[in-house]
């Protein structure tokens, strides 16, 4: 899937089939989901107050979202006081233009980037390339995805869809022109080579762009958590640091941020804390040992203020930990690319239709068995299945789903409300089906039931309905 592509959520069914048939992807998915699930359970077990912390974290975000204007204004005032600038952007296009302007102002040829899903939302890399600026991803997974000209398939593990062998081939191909001609096998060697290739890029970069896990209203700081330390080099070494974030990333205080961090890493990777937690406030001050000369925050709305006033507000509590993806059986079978846009998995199934339109992404909230594991593990207790159901309601109200389904549901509901007629019709149908299936006990094919029989037989009914037998006096 090339980077600068339109959303492909419309073709979810075909995307999913491709994912199911991709043996390498299936190998990667099985390994990563199992690992993350065990680690989360163990991390939660080690912290007796984990469930209480989830409640606390949720309350912090709910409070902030209820007073978002206040905290955003406070945040901007503090950024300004620290010598930085906040740029308010309504759309991804606005944000791209602001970022381009800032890069041009800094005379930038190379931009290093620490991981940011917001950059994916604004398709920043292809845009910068079009304008002669080279973006360099510094997160290892993002670097792999960039080299492969793909999109991230997971929000915290962007290259999780790739096997070690695939990465080995990719590095061999892309690093050969740099004089690194040996095909490496071991993970440690691959990581080391990426580090060596990236190191001079950090030093050459004119601008560093990072995302933000939190924006702190009381101090005007932005905070990122990483496991590779790449964020620190990205934001400290270049002349200018640009933070890109959406509105809902703000929290009132540093203490609030650290409370949420305690559930973030545990939910995401099962770590107690991410390896690096970096707080940056404004540009370099005269006494600072290092830091950028300029500090900018590009604050993107892109639909968030609309969601704030809608029945989907709760999804704005999301702290992008990825736990819902790590536990979703659908994500685990089809992989992240099937979802066709920036955010895969259960949270993507709620966010994507809200951000790019239900017409584009109507499959995503439907492609869930409502098993509820995502809600169970979400550190912010976002009722993801319930929000997906609300999207299905919108789909039904707006008549976006196929006419056959609408007619079918309507006819079925009409019949259900007429028990006598229902029993008469189903009694007859079940007698016929029961007689037909009695010898083999199952059907391998039935008219109009290919959706069922594609992957499994239909067990034959016993032959009479319960209600008919019960009325006859039972046979227990």
């Amino acid at each position: 899937m090339p980077r600068a592509m339109e959303a492909t959520s419309r073709t979810f069914v075909a995307n999913a089939r491709a994912g199911l048939q991709d043996a390498d992807l299936q190998t990667s998915l099985a390994r990563f989901q199992g690992g993350f699930q065990v680690k989360r359970v163990e991390a939660a077990k080690r912290l007796p107050e984990f469930e209480a912390l989830r409640d606390e974290a949720r309350a912090i975000k709910d409070h902030t979202l209820a007073h978002l204007d206040h905290y955003l204004e406070r945040y901007e005032a503090q950024v300004t006081a620290a010598g930085g600038t906040v740029h308010w952007c309504q759309t991804p296009e606005d944000a791209r233009q602001v970022i381009l302007g800032l890069c041009q102002e800094a005379g930038a040829k190379t931009v290093t980037k620490s991981k940011s899903m917001i950059a994916e939302e604004m398709e920043l890399n292809p845009f910068l390339e079009e304008h002669g600026i080279e973006p360099v991803e510094t997160d290892l997974g993002e670097y792999v995805v960039q080299l492969a000209d793909e999109r991230p398939s997971h929000i915290i593990a962007p290259a999780v869809h790739k096997t070690r062998d695939q990465v080995a081939d990719l590095f061999h191909e892309k690093h050969t022109p740099l004089g690194r001609t040996r095909r490496l096998e071991r993970v440690e060697e691959l990581v080391e080579e990426a580090r060596e290739v990236l190191r001079p890029r950090y030093l050459a970069a004119d601008v560093g762009i990072t995302g933000a896990n939190f924006l702190i209203a009381e101090t005007g700081s932005s905070t990122i958590v990483t496991n590779e330390g790449n964020g620190d080099l990205t934001q400290i070494l270049p002349r200018a640091h640009i933070v890109i974030a959406t509105l809902e990333k703000v929290v009132p205080t540093l203490e609030d941020a650290t409370t949420i961090m305690r559930v973030l890493a545990r939910s995401a990777t099962g770590q107690e804390f991410s390896t690096y937690t970096t707080v940056s406030t404004g540009p370099r001050r005269p006494d600072d040992a290092d830091g950028p000369e300029a500090y900018h925050v590009v604050l993107l709305d892109n639909g968030r203020s609309r969601m704030l006033g809608s029945e989907f507000r709760e999804v704005l509590r999301c702290i992008k930990c990825g736990a819902c993806m790590n536990h979703c059986p659908v994500y685990g079978t089809v992989g992240g690319h099937a979802y066709g846009w920036v955010y895969p998995g259960p949270v993507g199934a709620v966010l994507t239709p809200n951000l790019i339109g239900l017409e584009e992404a109507r499959h995503l909230p439907n492609a869930s068995s409502f098993c509820g594991r995502c809600e169970e593990v979400c550190p912010m207790r976002i009722p993801l299945p319930g929000l997906m159901r609300k999207l299905r309601e919108q789909e039904f109200e707006r008549r976006l789903n196929p006419a056959a389904i609408r007619t079918g549901i309507g006819a079925w509901a009409w019949l259900v409300r007429r028990p006598a007629l229902y029993r008469c019709l189903t009694g007859l149908g079940i007698r016929v089906l029961g007689a037909m299936g009695r010898r083999r006990g199952r059907f391998t094919k039935l008219p109009l039931a290919s959706g069922w029989t594609a992957a499994r037989d239909l067990p034959a009914p016993e032959g009479a309905t319960f209600h008919a037998l019960w009325r006859k006096g039972g046979r227990a």
């Binding site: 069914v13 999913a16 199911l20 059986p329 659908v330 079978t333 089809v334 439907n366 492609a367 869930s368 068995s369 409502f370 098993c371 509820g372 594991r373 169970e376 159901r389 999207l391 299905r392 309601e393 919108q394 789909e395 039904f396 789903n401 389904i405 549901i409 309507g410 079925w412 509901a413 259900v416 409300r417 028990p419 229902y422 189903t426 079940i430 010898r439 083999r440 006990g441 199952r442 391998t444 039931a449 290919s450 959706g451 069922w452 594609a454 992957a455 499994r456 037989d457 239909l458 067990p459 009914p461 016993e462 009479a464 309905t465 319960f466 209600h467 037998l469 019960w470 009325r471 227990a476």
Partner: protein, 257 residues
Amino acid sequence: MPASPRRVGLFVTCLVDLFRPTVGFAAAKLLERAGCEVVVPGAQVCCGQPAYNSGDSADTKAIARDVIAAFEPFDATVAPSGSCAGMIKRHYPALFAGDPHWEPRAQRLAARTFELVSFLTDECGVEEVDASHNGTVTYHDSCSSLRELGVRAQPRRLLASVDGLELAELSAPDVCCGFGGTFCVKYPDISGRMVADKAKDIAGTGAGTVLAGDMGCLLNIAGRLSREGSGVKARHVAEVLAGMTDRPAIGEPARGR
């Protein structure tokens, strides 16, 4: 055990009604043994989930109102399904939130609605059953039983009292089997892979029978096992607890033919 027998409205569920009446009779037998008087209201059909999960809230509410009216006369409403019980218990009140007439009625019914096995243990104080089953079984937790109703220990506790029965746990008992109502026919590729994974997990336990508390999961799992030519049988947990395993398992040919 409660002093006076309760009048229980048995919510049969549409899948038990159509595909597996045995489960309805097993439920009635277990409830009667626990001292309940069992009534099967004739006006019931379905809890409304197919409409609810398809986004058709108008039809869902119409169906839910019929269910509420049919079951509010009873001391308790019991379903041999975590999914249907969960619909009434967790979703009906939300469906009528803000409706001055129906919200209180939905809440009253919700408070008195239970999944069968947890009703037996938690409300009737049943600690053991009089049944036997020779062999190893495994148990699949339905998502709604597990996550909407917190039913996990109860079926295992009663199964432990079945003579000759051994329980071998799945490696991932809390993972969805891929049924998901209309999901399984709307996304057959994905659902098919999920149930194939479940069948693999079942085979790995070495059990001769897989049990569960929901006919949706069971039709899906039994259908997959039969498609793979597996010899593992599928039954509703109530059939084993009620000692009614003399009938062919789900998807098994009728005997003597």
